[in-house]
């Protein structure tokens, strides 16, 4: 970058403020082109200084607060964030704990023995066992192992 280019960037960076660095001032003394640019920038900034913004309307705050008042002052999300804020550092650990417990419960559920058969089934099985036992007794008596009354 040429020295003049750097000086012009400095002039812009200065934005019309009065203080000039010694280096900049020295360059302006020796460089008519940059000196002209500097004077034109000063004129431009003086013209821009005359552009003042108008006063803000007196009802500005009233309208704003009316609008804020219409919106819910604290949404449920805000309250939730406020309540949980103190827990925020521990939240991931707590969540991991909850998930671990849930996983264990699910796993145990899978390994649990099958449910007890219903009463009807049990009665049906008892009858079959009695029939089998009577059959066995009959068979043993046929082989004369058991005395038959």
């Amino acid at each position: 970058m040429s020295e003049c280019q750097a000086v012009r960037e400095q002039i812009i960076g200065q934005a019309g403020r009065p203080s000039l660095s010694a280096e900049l001032e020295s360059h302006l003394w020796g460089c008519p082109a940059c000196s002209q640019v500097y004077l034109e920038h000063q004129a431009m900034w003086r013209a821009m200084d005359a552009w003042e913004a108008p006063e803000v309307s007196t009802g500005f705050d009233r309208h704003l607060f009316a609008r804020i008042g219409k919106a819910s002052p604290w949404t449920p999300l805000d309250w939730m964030l406020r309540w949980f804020r103190p827990l925020q550092p521990a939240f991931p650990a707590a969540l991991a704990g909850v998930m671990l417990v849930a996983a264990l419960v699910v796993q145990q559920g899978r390994q649990a023995p099958p449910p007890e058969p219903s009463v009807t089934m049990q009665v049906r099985d008892d009858a079959r066992q009695i029939e089998m036992a009577l059959g066995d007794i009959q068979m043993l008596s046929d082989f004369e192992i058991l005395p038959v009354n």
Binding site: R46, A47, M48, A53, W74
Partner: protein, 196 residues
């Protein structure tokens, strides 16, 4: 150091707003009401529109208090919201008005030239015409250049802060400002000659 203290103070106020302290919001509003309205007024050049946009800026600040984190300067955040709204408003109005606005601008410039010739007789008219010329020169800049110039010249923001607001690099801001000021210098430097 003062700037750092101001940053901490504004961020601290905003954190209090986050905690539910409405008075801190009023302090921030008191401090930034005029800078935000002024900036928006120079951006859109209509006071009612500027005030409407400023209302939206502060409303958004209030609405997003719960999620506020002081990761950037408060003013950077504030002016980022303001700039976003101003750019959208300018684009919306340009789409609505179309070519009509360009014709009006040309007409205005001709009026100013006439007013300027009468300036020796009427100082008030001259001042108003000069002011109008400044407004038009700034208003004719591309939106991002305009925003950068207004933040730099009137809000006295540094390059880093402007870059934060516009979401670009510092070198891009320097480039924007350099081009914008070159245009403004060409259009406005003659205005101060009469004053010297």
């Amino acid at each position: 150091m003062e700037a750092v203290a101001a940053l901490e103070h504004d961020a601290e106020l905003m954190l209090r707003v986050k905690e539910g302290d409405e008075a801190s919001f009023e302090l921030l509003l008191d401090k930034y009401r005029h800078p935000v309205v002024s900036y928006l007024y120079r951006m859109v050049q209509q006071l009612p529109v500027a005030e409407e946009l400023a209302q939206e800026v502060f409303f958004r600040v209030y609405r997003s208090r719960a999620s506020y984190e002081p990761t950037a300067k408060f003013t950077t955040w504030l002016f980022r919201i303001a700039t976003h709204l101003a750019l959208n408003s300018i684009r919306d109005r340009r789409n609505e008005r179309g070519q009509e606005s360009l014709d009006e601008a040309d007409e205005d410039r001709r009026t100013i030239q006439v007013a300027d010739r009468r300036s020796n007789r009427e100082q008030q008219m001259l001042a108003e015409a000069r002011l109008e010329e400044v407004r038009q020169a700034v208003g004719a800049l591309p939106e991002k250049q305009r925003a950068a110039v207004l933040m730099h010249k009137y809000q006295e923001m540094d390059y880093i802060q402007i870059a934060g607001v516009l979401g670009c690099s510092v070198s891009a801001v320097k480039s924007l400002l350099f081009r914008a000021y070159e245009v403004l210098r060409a259009r406005l430097s003659h205005l101060a000659e009469g004053r010297a």
